[in-house]
Structures are given as C-alpha cells and as structure tokens.
Symmetry: D2
Subunit: 384 residues, 4 copies
C-alpha cells in the first residue's frame, strides 16, 4: 500500500550493527554470515532507508591498517553516493575491548579513561569525515556490580569531565556535530550510570556546554525498568533535548532484547509515534533492533521492512485519531485540552489561598477514560 511506502524525509535509519547482526548471543554462535558495510548501505537503499549509522569498529575494524581504513571508507562512500543515503549518526565502541572491562570514561584506571577518550576523539573525526551530525554516547561499561568499587558521585564527575573535554574537542575543530547520550539501566554491567532518560537529562544540565548535548533515548533500555517510554520522550521533548531516537521493542524486566519496532506493546508504540509526530520531531528515526536469531540472510530484510511499515501504519493511526469524532468527544469529556491551560486564576495568589470550592462537586464528574482507552484500542485494531 503506497500509504506505507517510506520517503527520505521520514528519516528512517539503520545502524550497520542492526541488519548486520550475525545472531550471536551469550549462549549461542552466529547463525548468519557477515555483511560488508557497503553491501548493507545498498540493501538499505533498496528498502527506503534515508541513512545509516555506525560504531567506529563496525566500519573500521579495531586493528585495521591506515590503508585498510581508506579502502573501506572509499567503498562505503561509493555506496552512499550511489544510494543517496547519509550518515546520520556515529558512535564509539567503548564496550567490547577487554581494556574497558571496568568502564571507559569512568574506569578507575586513569590510563584506561585516557585511552577511551582518545578512541572517542578518533571516532569523532571519522564521524565528521563522513558527515555525521549526531554523535552518540552509550556508556555500556560505565557502571559496577559492587558499590564498593565505584562511588557514584566520583564516577559521575569523571563522566562529566570526559563529556566536557569532548565537547571542547568538537568545538575546537568546528565540527557541525551535536552529542546525544543514550541511557541504559543495566546490562552488560550490574548497574549503569545514567540509567534512565531522567538521569541523563539531569546530567546534561551539569555540563559546560549543555546546549550541545541532548538525548538518544531507546525504547528497549527505558522499558527494561518498566518505566513508560512515552513519558520519558515527553520529558525529553519538554526539555527540547530529543536529538536522536532508537526505536525497537522490549518486554519489561528482561535482558536487552532489541526486538523489531512494534514487536512488543503496540499501544505504547502507537503513543510514541503520536508523540513524535505531534512534536514535529525531525531527527533520525533509528531502528536500533536486530533480527531474531532464527532468521537467515533474507529474513533480515523482512525484519528491516517491518520496522518501517509499523512506524508508517501507526503514523496513519495517529492521523485518524484526530479525525475521529467519537475519540474527540471522549477527549473533551476527559478535558484533555484543558491541561494545556495555565492553572493560575486571574486574581493571583492571594485569592487562591482563600478559595474554598466544594470538593464533593469537584470529585463528581467521571473522566470517561475507559471509553477513551477502548476507542484507542479499537482504532489500533482497525475496527473503527
């Protein structure tokens, strides 16, 4: 259906590591072969993606020689040119190497922290070289399993130092690049720092250049704790800090599943799409998911298309939500519009203190939330 055909302005994006994921997990070996970066770009072009993103070592292996680096980059750029895809975001892998086993920016050992910062600097250069305007930081190893080994206030201080330093680096080089922090509560470490959107939003306010740093919230990461991702994105939008977004799905209280967008919780997914569309969010929509391990090479692209289609289907539902007269009537009964109206009465503070409205009368009207929610369900189920 053409209504669900992606356009470049939809900004649908995939990381090299998402469709390129070989199906390995802690208990099992790879089920799919590797895909070269340029091959991924070409396939992404075919399914209507607007861009691609990567960790430094997704594109350039950790041990690549300068010559290998140049050859990989040449091919990668050629594929970008041919397909018209852009690099929308880049990031650094600060999780894999054993050197980071105790953290990267918050490792106890200063030499490890310096190694991490240097790796990030080189990866920022690489990102800038291919036009990435967003640089993501996910602190996969920034955490601990025993509080005895890592006092949180000190670790946060080192985290801040690293980010301030790297902001300076970007500004010194005049890169047109902003940073986006990606919170996660746990896994691979017991407890991570900046575990939720809230913690990361607060952290940003304490940086030297808060205007340069925003968020890259991820459905799966926030959902692991059972927190509402829609509320999280709401707070990020309220703070004008939604710089990038990682779309996927996840069941509460489990290992990081990185399922296809919409695989879990269609309703929260719908409200997420609605929130993004209402806010006019224009940044990349990055499907940071990976195909199930039981997929073969072709299943990968069914997976990729599924992410896109689900977004577009739900976007259309969000449009209909506003046209549906019965839903609008239910919203009116629930007085949803009135939450946008300031509370302060004309008479100001003094008058309010003395006000003694009848609480019984205030308690009377039902909000009709059951009907409203049922109408949303029926809109989602396509029966209205």
């Amino acid at each position: 259906m053409s209504m669900y055909t992606p356009h470049p302005e939809n900004q649908f994006v995939f990381g090299l590591w998402t469709v390129g994921n070989p199906g390995r997990d802690t208990w099992g070996g790879a089920t799919r072969g590797p895909l070269a970066p340029d091959e991924i770009v070409r396939r992404l072009g075919e399914i209507g993606a607007a861009g691609v993103c990567f960790h430094d070592n997704d594109l350039i292996p950790f041990d690549a020689t300068p010559a290998e680096r140049e050859e990989i980059l040449r091919r990668f750029r050629k594929a970008l040119d041919e397909t018209g895809l852009r690099v929308t975001m880049a990031t650094t892998n600060l999780a894999f190497h054993p050197a980071f086993k105790d953290g990267s920016f918050t490792a106890n050992e200063p030499a490890v922290r310096r190694f991490a910062i240097a790796k990030a600097m080189r990866a920022i250069d690489l990102g800038a070289e291919v036009g990435a305007e967003i640089y993501v930081f996910w602190g996969g190893r920034e955490g601990s399993e025993t509080h005895a080994s890592k006092p949180a206030p000190d670790a946060l201080e080192r985290y801040r130092e690293a980010l301030d330093f790297l902001c300076g680096y970007v500004m010194d080089h005049g890169y047109p690049m902003r940073f986006a922090l990606e919170p996660k509560p746990n896994e691979p470490r017991g407890d991570l720092f900046l575990p939720t959107v809230g913690h990361a939003l607060h952290f940003i306010t304490r940086l030297q250049h808060p205007e340069m740093v925003g968020l890259n919230p991820e459905v799966a990461h926030e959902t692991m704790t059972g927190l509402s991702f829609v509320h999280a994105v709401g707070q990020a939008l309220w703070a004008e800090k939604l710089f990038h977004i990682d779309l996927n799905s996840q069941r509460i209280g489990r290992y990081d599943q990185d399922f296809r967008f919409g695989q879990e919780d269609l309703k929260e997914t719908f409200f997420l799409v609605r929130a993004l569309e209402r806010a006019g969010y224009a940044g990349p929509k990055h499907f940071d998911a990976h195909p199930l391990r039981a997929e073969d090479a072709e299943g990968v692209w069914d997976f990729a298309r599924g992410n896109i289609r689900t977004y577009l289907i739900l976007r259309e539902k969000a449009r209909r939500f506003h046209e549906d007269a019965e839903i609008q009537a239910a919203l009116a009964q629930a007085k949803v519009e009135e939450i946008t109206v300031p509370t302060r009465p004309d008479g100001g503070l003094a008058g309010l203190r003395a006000q003694r409205p009848d609480p019984v009368a205030l308690a009377q009207p039902g909000l009709g939330l059951e009907r409203l929610d049922q109408l949303v369900n029926e809109l989602l189920l396509g029966v209205r």
Copy 2:
C-alpha cells in the same frame, strides 16, 4: 548495646502515618486502632527519635473545624515541648480525596488544580506554624493509565507552574522552608510523572527557583523499578540536592511495600548508609515505612526501634570498612581512589588524541572485585 543507642543528632524521624498506620490494605481491613498525634510524639520520644513529620490531614482531619484544629495543635505542641522532638518536615495529602482522582497539580480540570494548590498553601502555612523547614511533594495522583488522556509535556508544564507558584508563596511569606520532591514510578496510578530521582533532578533544573527545591528520594520508590538506590542518592549528592530522605525497604518489581529499613537487601542498605555518612548528610533520616499488618499495637514499636538499630549497626560497619586493612588492600587493587583523580593529562587535549597505549596491557590487570565484594559480605556478616 550503647553503640546502637540513638542520639538526637542522628536525626531519626518518623511520620505520623508510619507508626500510626492501622494495617489497612486494598484487600484487608485495619488490624490496629488509631493513635493520636500527641501520643505518637510521646512514644517516638521514648525510642529516641529526634523528630516527627506529617501530611496536613494526618494531623488535622480534612473536615476539622477551626476549633478542632486549634485543640489538636495545642496538644501536639505540648507533646513536642515535653519530648523535645521537632517537626522536621510537612507535606500535603493530595492523593486521598476523590477530587484528585485525575491528579492534583496535573489534573486536567483547572479547578481541581487550583483546589490542590490552595490545599498546599494552607498546608505550607501549617508546616511553617510548627517549624517544618522541609516541605515534601509526592505526586501520588500525577500520572495516567492511558496516554490518550494526559500528554506528558503539558502535564510537566502544569507541574512546573504549581511548584513555581508555591515557591513564590513561601518566599513571599518569608518562611525558612525548602521543598523536596519525592519521585515514584507508579502506584497508585499506572505511570507517574517524575518517576525516578533522575527525572525529578532534571525537573528541578527547569524551575524558577531551582536553589529552593531538592529531593526526597525513597528507597522503596526507586527500588520498585530495579534501579540502584545507592546510585540515585549518589547522583542527588553529586548535584547537592539531597534535602531529605525516606528510608525503608522494598523488593524489586512489586507493589509499594514500605518495609522496615533493612528488611530487604542488607547490602544495598549498607552502601546507602555508607554513602550518607561519607557525604556528611545532616538532614532528617525519615523512616517512611509501616509495620507489617500482622503486628499489634506493641509490635509497632519493635518495628520503630528496628529501623533505628539497623541504621546504627550499618553505620558502625561503614566505620570498620575504612579500618579493615584487607578491605583497604582490595580497594587499592581495584584502584578505587583513582576514580577521584581527574583524567586529563598534563599535556592536554592535543597530546591525548595521538596517544596509542597498548590496549592489551591496559586490559591485563584484574580488579579483584570478587575478593572485594566477598570482604564486604564478610564484614556485613560479622565474621571479620
């Protein structure tokens, strides 16, 4: 043992609703009779508490006449005078009355929001009248069960408006009072706004008077989501926003249990006490817990004493932690001190970019975290 006898400077405090809890729950009726506020104060004095706190309607019933209000206050003050206890904190009950069924500061209906603000103003006056220097806001009804009924950015805007307004009210009256926000992720509503310490810390940065507002984090609330409370308190301390603290215990992923301090997770509890003591936290330590439903009137006071004893026992463990040579050796192996050392090398930014340390060498040293954590366990278990 005298080592575990409370002193007033420990600032151990109980809310009227904690030891006064009658044992009612959603599925069961009260198992204990009511206790008058002045009686509670006297019993708290006997067990060594330094203070007491309350919701407006814990002290003054919702429907009390002015004369009843004065008589209750007179008796309450008399008990305070006789025992030397202080009122360390006050708060408003904005959760119980049916008028607040859709929220108080974030109700869709503006008249409800005004009613909530007016109730808070009167309760602030009451708090000021009895000397409360901390005023807590817990948004028990600020949330939703269906996102259709309450857009988060708009709700946060109303929440901010209410807090800004009430900050102004306190300043206008010259009350020596600061505010402390108490985050909670869910229950009694499906998803609450300001669900964690992180979200609340960020919210504060967007108020008109951020210096006047800090946090009242609660063990149970943060733990419900599985987030580390020690990390949460760490971030609050880092931000100098720990104005008050609610001590109790909770199992992850359950209804709000409000168990006795230390009933669950002795180790996280130990690290919490250690973090508070190291930071020199001097505010009230409020045991916001309630006795199990199976307790009778006397069991309530065993409960109350248990909270205090556990804190003091763990404080003593924290002291020994720093004197134990083997623990100190393990901390040295894990390089815990070095996390306090800035990362930046003398040569500055340019030099770091070019640094190519041997990653294999950086990956080599073991941190000895198993031994360190085992030593902590053995310290806790009293076998070292």
Copy 3:
C-alpha cells in the same frame, strides 16, 4: 456491529466486586457509590453478560443476620430469574478480615485455619444454593514477608489439608461443584504460596482428589512476574486443568492493576483469545477487572462493554488468522504444523543414537519469524 454482539454461549461473566468496585485504593477513598447485587445483575443482563460470580461477603455482608441473608438472596434470585443470568462461580473472602492477617488455610494459629475452613464451608453451601458449579480459591493471605515465620513445606502441607478437607465436604454433600485454584505471586503479602500456574498445577497433583480441582488463572497475576500468560494457559490446557479463567490486563512488575481486558498488551491478549478458541474452552470467561478510579457510575458500564468487545474483536482476528494465505505461508515456512508430529523415527531408539546428520545443513533454513510476527501485527492493526 453485530459481529461484536455477545451471546450467552460466549459465557462472559462479571464478579459482583468488579463492576461494583467503588474506586477505593491504598491511597484514596471511594469515587463511586455502592451498587446492590440485584442492580448489578440487571445491568449485566443489559450488556449481554451470561453470568455473575461473587465472594460470600460481596453478596451477604460478614455481619448479616439470617433474615437479612434471606432477603438479599431473594432479591438476587429474582434478578437472576428476570435476566436469565446464572451464577457461574462463587468464592470465599478469606483476605479481608483481620483474623486472616497471618493467612487463612496456612495461618500459624490452628484456630484461624479452622475459622477459615468453616467460613469456606458455609460459602460453598451458599454457592451450591445458587447453582455455582465452580468454586474458586485465591490464597490472598497465604504467604509471608519473612521466611522465618512460615516454612514453605509445612504451609503447603496445611494448604493441602484444607483443600482435601473441602473436596470431601463437597463430595459428601453431592454438590455438582469443582474447585479452581487462582495463583498469584505477591500482594497483599510479600511472597504468596502457589505463586504461578505452574506451582498450582503441581500442587493439584498432590491432592487426594486431583480430578476435582483445576485452575482459575488470571492474566494480571501471572503477568506481574513477567511470565507469559499464553504459555501458562497452554500448560493448563495441556494438563486439562483450565476450569475457569480471569480475564483482565496488567503491566509487568507492578502492583495488581486489574485493568480492563486488552488495556495492556493487545498481542499477548490476541494469542490468549486464539488459544482459548482453538482449545474449545467452554467455561466462563470472567472479566476480573475493575474500572479506573476516575470513572463515574456510567463509566463503569463503558468499562464492562469494553471487556466484551475486545474479546469478540480478537476472536474475529483469530478466525481471520487461519484464513489469511500469507500468514499460512509464513506458518509453513516456520514449520509450525510439524511441532505436532511425534519426533520418534520409525527405526526407534537404537537407530537414533547412531544418527549423524549434518548440523550445518540443519542450521541453514531461516524460520521467517520476523515476517510471521509482522503479519500478526498487521492483522491486529487491521491493515490486512
């Protein structure tokens, strides 16, 4: 739409306590007035319910006199007669009274256990009197907050004794009644016995009359722990122990929400409906949910109708699932039919031991689960 109009054979049922719930919770007072049992029956008749169920004290207050009991019953029966509704299930409230604060069948105090059994006997008589063929046992207070107070093996032994005793009581009286156990993991107590469908299924195998006892699984209870309710019902069906079912919804890792059927997790709800329909489950479908606290008296019936409609909509989706050619093709690629084929080869055991198939070939075929799951999503979303 007539496709979604309930018929008596659908066996949609509501408990008196569901639509009769006044909106009270731990933090808030009632938001709706009480409804008399006969009034509830009449309203249920209007919305197409086939039956009603109750706890003893939903119908007959704890302190009712014999005369009051008879008058209530007379009116209740009259309403049943007029509407054609049946009493499909009855149960005993063994949770509310303070006497049960330490348990009912597993209270440490033998006199409490005897009181509980006697109350259950009288309630069974009441159920039999009004034609209930299913009697449910939910052990709301059978659990503990500290393992020191209640050894699990002993408590299970007492639980078994009570059930065996009551089975005998029913048989002695020749009541045409079967028992259904309702598992729950926690709340109102810290840890409940028989926490999941699995534990309860096993418990039944150790009773004197296992054939007389089955399950009443509840969506919300199983989902609290994050376990799949569809798998739970699958195991109950496999064991031929699905005697009754409590339909509602719930978010993982939270307080017991008892939301409207389908309010949370439309997909798991769909697979549940599909499993029930495929298995030809013919017992009552009991919507053990309650309206949100923000509803008024009329919203209650929107709530009630929503439960029914969602079931019927999803039942129709389940029918289409089997007619959709593309879904059927995807099921064939995933070899779903073949899971019904016995594994054992003709040659028997000895031959299998020696078999050395090529594991690489076995690993090759992709199962196409991403496409299959996406097709399910699109069926649910009404775009195919």
Copy 4:
C-alpha cells in the same frame, strides 16, 4: 577460620564452565584465557571442592575426533584420580549450535529434535562413563519470541516425548542415573517453556517415569522473575524432588547474572541455606556462577572460594538461629511450630461447619514478625 573450611561431605561442586568462563558477554570479548578441564579439576581440588560437572562440549569439543576425545578423557580422569574429585553431574549443550536456533527437543523441525535427542544420548553415555549420577536438562532454546510460531501445548508434548524417550534410554542401559530439570523463565529466548520450579514440577508428574526425574532449581533463574527461591525450593522439597541445586545470585528483573553465591540478597541466601540444612539435603551444591568480567586468572579462585565460604558462614548462622533464646521466643510468639500441627479438630467435619469462634478475638494477637525479622537481621549482621 577452620569453621569455614570445606569438607568433601559438603558436596561443593563447580561446573567446568563456571570457573572456566573467559569473561565474554554480548557486548564484550574474553578477558581471561582458556583453562583445560584437568587443570580446572586440580585447582578445584586445592580449594576444597568435592566434585565437578560439565556440558558434553565443555569437556569434549563439538568437533573432536575419537582420538582427541580419548586423550581428553584420559587426562580428565587422571586429574580426578589425583584429587579425589567426582563427576557429580553431566549435561548436554543444546543451546549453542545454530542448528538449535528454534529449539532442541521442541524445535519445529523434527530432524533438529532427533539431532538433539541423539546428542543427548551420546552425552548421557559420556556422563555415565565418568560416573555422573545426575543428568541435567536446561532447555535454553525451548521457547519462542512470537506465540504464532510455537503453540505451547504441542511444544510441551514434544518436550515430554523427548524426556520419556531418554528416561527409557537410561533404563535400557542400566545407568545409575537420575534426571534433573532446570527451569528458566527467559533468555536467551523471549519466553521459555518450564519457566519456573512450579511449571517443571508439574511437567514431571506427566512423564512416564516421574520417579526418575526431579529438579535442578537455580537461584538466578527463579529470581529473575521476582519469585522467592526459598519458596520454590520449599515446594520442591515438599514434593521430594530436589535432586540437584544451582547456587549463585541475581538481581530481580534483569539479564541472567550468575553472580557469586551471596553476592545479592544475603537474607534470602541465608534462608535458602537454612532450608537445605534443615531438610538434610545431601545432593551436590553446585555453584553455577561465573567470575565478574573484571577478574583476571587469579581472581577466578577468589571467586570460587567466596562461594564456599558464604555457604559455610550462613550454615553456621542457621545453627545459631536455633540456639538463640530470643529468636526462639519470637518464633513462639509467631506460633511457627503450630503450622506443623494438622488443622483438623477431633470432632471432624460436621463440628467445624457449626463452629462460630469470635473473629475479633482471633484477630487480636500480634505475631511479632517485625521483632522476629529484626532478630534475623541482627543474627546475619553478627551483632547477636
């Protein structure tokens, strides 16, 4: 301290994959080198372990030639002889190979199921050859991410077929071997079959040879869902089905952490040790944990010793629990002994029906659970 020195009769056991774990995870490479099986046996001998266990491919690589197999076995046996360690348990790796990506005994493809059974037969032979009396089945891939692909009742039927078949195989060969099922709720697959101790206990009752099959519950697996492991073990003991146990630790609602025994939740760990000791559990105590990724080769053995010490320390606490007069007095107040007394009064059924005790009197006595639990805490903390 000699009180905490292990003896062979303690039956402390480690799997080859536990101390041999190289520190790899989904986001990171190995941090430690490989250890040969015979080397592991020798090191285990030094720290006081009584035995060792393995998956087939921990000992014999998947692609080993017969000659390599014999050489590995020769060395392994030599190490066993020299140290006196026994092989206490063996199991099959049915999770790693890509052929099992859709399951092993419950794969949709019958040829995969046959491959899995044949692999299990050969691994059972290997186990029997080295004297393993317990054979464990963990269904790591028996599950699904979309219910569309795997109906639970059919999958359970295939699971049962495999177990019945393999029971027959063991009996046919006269191996002195029993089976133990290891439940797990999720990870690596979305939802696993036999997710908890309860589900597995029930499954066993439906096998052809239930007497031959018991459980291998694991702390981490049960705890992931938030269920009480102490209750789970209690139900297994009640059913006389605790054949083996996997000791480690885990935080609720997270990825499978396999932490050192006692690293998390000292209190639940204490009650577990107490339950095992009271029941006279004499089977292997298998520490199915792995060292933190930040450990080096030596840290592995600190880790191993920590598991053992914690068990012995808690066993000593359990002994003191029974000698502590104040704890015994608190147990008496809570009437804990009386839960072991049958409920049935002498007069039998008829008398009970008519009993009308005063419920208010029954509700009166407090159980003193706060004091009891606090005494347990203080016993654990070594201050009594």
